[in-house]
Symmetry: C2
Subunit: 552 residues, 2 copies
């Protein structure tokens, strides 16, 4: 076999992964890693954690790997400045200083940023993606700087939280109505509350409208609402877009959002040209729809496929779930699969169920235990889990990964209700919150009680009878116009409950609300239901409660 030349375009993590994967299948090939440099190809995910003080040292953030690679893996490293062009017919990559003929080309240029026209370029306006950005940010600010983060994506929230942990005074300004719009509305509310509780000023529905620049620095930002805020640093976080211009110019098929269309071998529509990393769209595990998700983990997995296939090996893309996780103050928020809004596009609203449960990161008797909430989206017809969101101070990462595996494994809610998870008091509860979520959804599917989500109930307040059955008095208040009947008294008071409206039983977590709904159902109240997630979810969504208690 003639010696192959595999050219990988992109010096970031995906490029390195692709080149490595290729080398391990073909030790004779010439493999060239072409690095055009610049921010698009040097994102290092851990950079914000140097600001928060969580990294061991800055030197660990440097990209030393390519150098080691060139020795151990025999990969030629080639810097490329200036224009680049792909000649598909001739299988040639044109660089400013010459051309490279390739047997296979792997495009791994990642995602690129777009300028934010609302903020002028200045010595204290930066992003935070690369070690170079980190150095520039550090040069621009001292301790307890006033930092304004522009944007509402996970990147923006992660950055805001990193500056907060680093002792800075942080404002996050987002022109959208809520942060983290890949998450549920409740998740957004939770993140906003947690950031505010941690001292971050969260400004929604506004953007930068103007800036006062002095001596090359932005000293004051004016927001669209009219407020003017002095700043020491403006951090730009979005938007990203697929860095796919070269492929577009070469005639490759792109999606509307500019992401690269690839098949399950990471092949583009151009012969002998593969693509991977944060520029490609990948099929969603539930819907099959191509989705563009500029995430480091996914970028790496696509790179391993593209590199292997380019070298003649066998590999295949696995679908993705848009699994992601972000810290906001003391909260960790994680998601996988479909959110409600996506699920009702995939199926009909009638086919989609949601339950919300509250549990504990570990045995409640331990000091280390932290509350943990799961919102589970499932298909009411076949019981398949479609998506989940997990929120808590500890243990959210574990539950979301288990649920991600459950979705890929095609599991039903009934199956996860009995999933054999590792139990010892420091790690979980004997009935883990994942099991509970599955169990509640299974009860709903079996028709044991009608489930009301907080948003459904909020939309029907006038036409239902709400009965608060919580015996514990730890909480802030009740939903307005609740009847208050502690569960232990429910059986003796049940005859007096209205029969002309749906009954919705409410408790702190939803657990006792479910029990109450069962009692009512078994006594002839056919439309008895409960508020899933209870008052805890109601309050997490920012819905109002009445202070004080009519309770005995």
């Amino acid at each position: 076999m003639a010696r192959q030349t595999i050219v990988v375009l992109g010096g970031n993590g995906s490029g390195v992964s692709a080149a490595t994967a290729a080398r391990e299948l073909d030790d004779e090939a010439r493999i060239v890693l072409v690095d055009p440099g610049g921010e698009a190809t040097s994102t290092v995910a851990a950079v914000p954690y140097a600001i928060s003080g969580e990294t061991a040292s800055d030197s660990t953030l440097s990209r030393g790997r390519p150098v080691a690679l060139s020795a151990s893996h025999g990969i030629e490293m080639r810097a490329a400045q200036g224009p680049i062009r792909i000649d598909v017919a001739a299988r040639r990559l044109h660089l400013a200083d010459g051309a490279l003929e390739y047997t296979a080309l792997v495009h791994a240029l990642g995602a690129e940023t777009t300028p934010d026209p609302r903020v002028p370029a200045a010595a204290n306006v930066h992003r935070l993606r690369t070690p170079e950005d980190l150095a520039a940010v550090r040069a621009a600010i001292g301790p307890r700087a006033r930092v304004c983060v522009i944007g509402g994506s996970p990147t923006a929230v992660e950055a805001a939280d990193a500056f907060r942990r680093g002792g800075h005074i942080v404002t996050i300004v987002h022109s959208g109505g809520r942060l983290l719009d890949d998450f549920s509305e409740m998740g957004s509310a939770r993140a906003t509350d947690a950031l505010r509780a941690a001292g971050v000023d969260v400004v929604l529905g506004e953007g930068p409208a103007g800036a006062d620049v002095e001596e090359g620095r932005v000293v004051r930002l004016t927001l669209t609402g009219g407020a003017r805020a002095p700043v020491d640093l403006v951090l730009i976080t979005g938007p990203l877009r697929p860095h796919s211009g070269l492929l577009r110019a070469a005639g490759a098929e792109l999606n509307e959002d500019g992401s690269v269309v690839v098949d399950e071998l990471c092949a583009t529509s151009l012969p002998h040209v593969f693509a991977c990393g944060a520029s490609v769209a990948v099929p969603h595990a539930v819907t099959g729809w191509p989705v563009w998700l500029p995430q480091a983990g996914l970028a790496d997995r696509t790179a391993m496929v593209a590199g292997a296939v380019a070298a003649g090996g066998q590999a295949r893309l696995e679908p993705v779930l848009n699994t992601s996780i972000v810290r906001a103050g003391e909260l960790t928020l994680a998601r996988t699969g479909l959110a409600w809004d996506e699920a009702v596009e995939y199926a009909t609203a009638e086919e989609i169920g949601q339950v919300s449960v509250h549990g504990s990161s570990c045995e409640r008797t331990l000091k280390a235990s932290q509350p943990l909430a799961i919102d589970l989206i499932y298909h009411r017809g076949d019981g398949r889990i479609l998506g989940a969101e997990v929120a808590g101070k500890a243990g959210a990462d574990k539950r979301v990964d288990v649920l991600s595996a459950a979705i890929v494994g095609g599991m039903t809610v009934e199956r996860i209700s009995a999933l054999d998870l590792a139990y010892a008091p420091p790690f979980s509860t004997a009935r883990d919150v994942v099991n509970v979520a599955g169990w509640v959804a299974g009860a709903a599917r079996a028709g044991l009680a009608r489930v009301w989500t907080v948003y459904e109930l909020a939309a029907h307040l006038g036409s239902v009878a709400i009965v608060d059955v919580e015996p514990e008095r730890g909480r802030a208040g009740e939903i307005t116009d609740s009847l208050v009947i502690p569960l232990a008294d429910l059986r003796s008071h049940i005859a007096a409950l209205p029969r002309d409206r749906p009954l919705v039983f409410v408790s702190e977590t939803g657990r006792l609300g479910y029990v109450a709904a069962r009692i009512a159902r078994l006594r002839g109240f056919k439309d008895a239901g409960f508020l899933t997630g209870g008052l805890l979810s109601w309050q997490a969504a920012g819905l109002p409660v009445k202070q004080g208690s009519k309770h005995r």
Copy 2:
């Protein structure tokens, strides 16, 4: 429908779960929870964590739940002293103070301890399962007590570790050759090393041979090896057995180990008699074989099924994986599915593959990151994951739960290599160690390199050529008689390598050993392989390395 009477026998967690599950399906039934009391029915998993100082307060360990239950769930609580007998034909439970007629009986008596004949009863000889045990232990010892834990099960290791964390001086004495024999040999070695590193004296292959008793207390233990050790407390941890005598007397079918045979509805062989909790055997998810596992999580899941079915509802046992987790010093050790020894009973040794990988709990640049190792057992034929063991200071619980879900979901190693897990630097690495384990196993299945486990290599040291290719000099030494050729020099030295023996490439983690094996394979060394898990696994297994280095 006539009013049912459901009698639940056992006041522990399973009994309560079963009674609750029954009530939520039948609000009219009379439900009686019969509690014979005693240690068998009052185990509280968190008790050892009061010794370690990790519980919030002792009051949280009390079993207040049954009292609340009787109000909210309308469950009659009945204490039962003295003999109990089941009259199956008459559907009647005979208690010392009268008989209870039942529509359905749910047996939930759990597991019981057996006396340890090697240790006399004394005021400072105890178990640590119940709040009463906790009070007795506290009364028996002061600070920095000399505690001798007898046994080698997870319960023994958990207790030893709890006393250590509580500031006591701990010896663990186990008559078997290794601790934790449900785990792999390497897992046992890891736990022993970690306990010793934390200051626990671990004595294996010996048991108590005699005791000096003064004023009703054991003051000195003599071990079978002849050593005599002064003690302030002797903690008995085993063995447990199913508390199934009542069912045996009533004629129920039991397994050889005394565990109760139940079907997937938790029905025993006796009509109208169900069983759940830590006395029943449940089918293993991989083998289908009934297994008796006295674990709190599993006990709870069986209870929910038994309670629901007894009340006329629908529920079904899901198979189990013997998922478990234990802390030993700074180490957390977790397992799920089949261990190697079990896998080669289930299939042939040729069909079973194992790979070992080393990764990090979170992004390596973060101070919080901790090393994490996975040993993955899979079926070489169809690629199914059969079992896994995870070891590390942080994050082992997450990975084992993901792998448990993957086994239940019938996933292959290839599929988990691309599992979409949540990535952000504080939680994982972009290529999580679970992904890596799947990827390496996939490479092995594809025939890309021969995998040697540490035990296979140890058994063939004389007949293979070992080549150490690790370029980094951080480690302790090499396997005796290794050739040392750093990976970057391998290509230029490869012609000199022996062709008459299998080549085994060794590196720190196994990663570069794999790369070296690929290079050799692609250059005609057909039997080139690598040591999976590398020197880290070799040393974790307690296998010898030569100190010092021949390295350039």
